[in-house]
Symmetry: C2
Subunit: 349 residues, 2 copies
DNA sequence: ATGAAAGCGCTAACAA
DNA sequence: TTGTTAGCGCTTTCAT
């Protein structure tokens, strides 16, 4: 077992460079311009630091400055292309600003959300981005109590700024393309479009349902409550609900609006057992985009939220110190079936 | 603008409970059992703490104990179902241990990897999990210099324990199913199987290529170098290479082994422009699994790495303080086309 | 059974 | 132009 050599500290550098700790501190963190320290000393100190392999202890710095340099984001799941894109954008924006991103998934569990936010605050994060929380407003309360700057992305909240997709518009477009291209069904039970997935307590979901209802009523004259199945996000649950529905109808409905990728994943696990021609009499759409989802066995219309703009705009608000509950809505895009969207990382991977 | 009320500290609690800071500290972090503090004082202190809404400053604690309670993981990209699953498993394991996970993506850029690891170390992470690094061994050096416990997941490294998928086995199975089910092609140019994606400098890729070569040679008698196109992970690049290949061959090859989901995504963006019958004379496989990829327009054989077991095993090694470069290989699973694997989160989403 | 005091590594006044 | 000092909030001997 090799002897643990302790990490060099600022005073080691001071000793090596023949300067005082505070001078070293200033020389190393850039604040030396304000402090009239000779450029020569600075170079000497930097050399010494490099020489002995000094790197700052960011915990200590954070403690002293009461700014940690950490930015937090919470989201429901990593295994979801939409949230994964949010993470990717979030990281890029955080890095640009010299901040260290901390991303936590909370599985849509309100208790877990609260625990996680408290933990992040305990680490003195400078700001928090909230995506897809089950109980957004509870989180706001915690942040306000702790005086932590925070912002909602993806879902609007009160008491803090929000940058969200224009859920109504997106769902309206998706509903229209579904309703307008639905094949005519010989079986009248299957002639109606259905909405499946999500939770009515989720604001995004409820806006999307509104849009779906309006479009359906507008185009078809009426809609019945059973056409909206907000059975949550869990794939397993969606699979079961869909199976039950198709059982009742005698096949897939002519139109299916799947709300969220996780629900869609559940739908897939049901679809897998269907014969290939089962999809011929249906048109399917999914709110949220996944490149693989775009090339399934049957065509799928998808709505792509612009995670880059969502996150970038949110960062700009945070940078500006915005704290009042403005609401900015970003237009999502309707992506036709069999279209692979080329993201900003398509030359990296 | 409301007055900033500073977060209550341990001495605020001390004052409120009529005790000393050190007693409060002990009472609150559980170390009071060792310190013979009366149960009554403990309850009194806990009450006071709850009363004034005290929560520990984890930065300060970390500084003092030189253990932050943070565990880091680096990976190439979030927008990849395999790595997203790793994140999900990593979070769960970290939380179980009362640790706070910090996940960073480094876009397969060696410089970025190093910068990121240095940042994580500067935040005094207790340990680091390395997944899919472009230059794994450079990271080991940094960790060792800083005395940070670390482990490789997904790719083996030297100088530290590794828990990886059995890449050879996985690729062998995938190659076999491809070669054995390849349709006979009228056009001899298209009769051979191809490997596309990844980098030969990546150990996982090179093992998979070995397996592919061996299987092809074994079954078909020979293999030529041009059958292996290790053009990196970027979707755009894979798309271009594939387009060029199909141009040369006059269509898709009879067998295609796509190495990694990002490469597969690139392949898709080429496939999208092909007529539906273009896939009839080919069998396609992808190393790594994606639920949507499992139900594409054409059947896809996929290899699913067991991220849960990968991460769990790695955590056990870390828990045990293992520091020598053991290599543990976890068997991946071959997933037949049109099979949706039900993960542990299928009832959550 | 509890408290006093020192110090983790850093930065920000304030002196010099 | 640089050094000295105090202190961020916490834990940990060591006294009491």
């Amino acid at each position: 077992m090799p002897t643990r050599k302790p990490k060099p500290t600022i005073s080691d550098v001071a000793a090596a460079a023949g300067a005082s700790p505070s001078t070293v501190s200033a020389a190393l963190n850039g604040s030396w311009k304000r402090r009239r320290i000779s450029e020569e000393t600075v170079t000497r100190i930097q050399a010494a630091a490099a020489q002995i392999g000094y790197t700052a202890n960011l915990q200590a710095r954070g403690l002293r400055k009461s700014r940690s340099g950490l930015v937090g984001m919470i989201l429901p799941v990593h295994e979801n292309r939409f949230f994964a894109s949010m993470s990717q954008s979030f990281e890029a924006c955080a890095r640009e600003r010299g901040l260290c991103p901390v991303i936590a998934s909370t599985l849509r569990d309100p208790k877990e959300e609260i625990r996680t936010v408290e933990t992040l605050i305990a680490y003195a994060i400078d700001s928090l981005f909230i995506a897809g929380a089950a109980d957004p407003d509870a989180l706001s309360d915690i942040c306000k109590a702790a005086n932590v700057q925070h912002i909602y992305v993806d879902l609007p909240g009160k008491d803090a700024p929000s940058v969200v997709s224009h859920n109504y518009h997106g769902a309206e477009q998706l509903s229209r393309v579904i309703v307008d291209t639905m094949p005519t069904q010989s079986n009248p039970a299957r002639a109606k479009p259905y909405f499946v997935g999500g939770l009515t307590t989720n604001i995004a979901t409820s806006l999307r349902i509104d849009a779906f209802r309006t479009v359906v009523t507008d185009r078809l004259g009426q809609i019945s409550p059973e056409q909206v199945i907000a059975c949550g996000y869990a794939p397993g649950q969606t699979a079961r609900e869909l199976a039950a529905l198709c059982d009742r109808l005698g096949g897939l409905p002519a139109g299916l609006f799947v709300n969220s990728l996780t629900a869609f994943e559940g739908a897939l696990s049901y679809f897998v057992d269907l014969p290939p021609d089962a999809f011929e009499q249906s048109v399917i759409g999914c709110y949220d985009y996944d490149p693989f989802g775009a090339f399934l066995q049957f065509p799928v219309h998808m709505v792509r939220q612009n995670s880059d703009r969502l996150i970038q705009t949110a960062f700009e608000l945070i940078d500006a110190g915005t704290t009042d509950p403005v609401l900015i809505e970003i237009e999502p895009d309707l992506i036709p079936p069999r279209t692979i969207y080329k993201g900003r990382f398509s030359e990296i991977g």
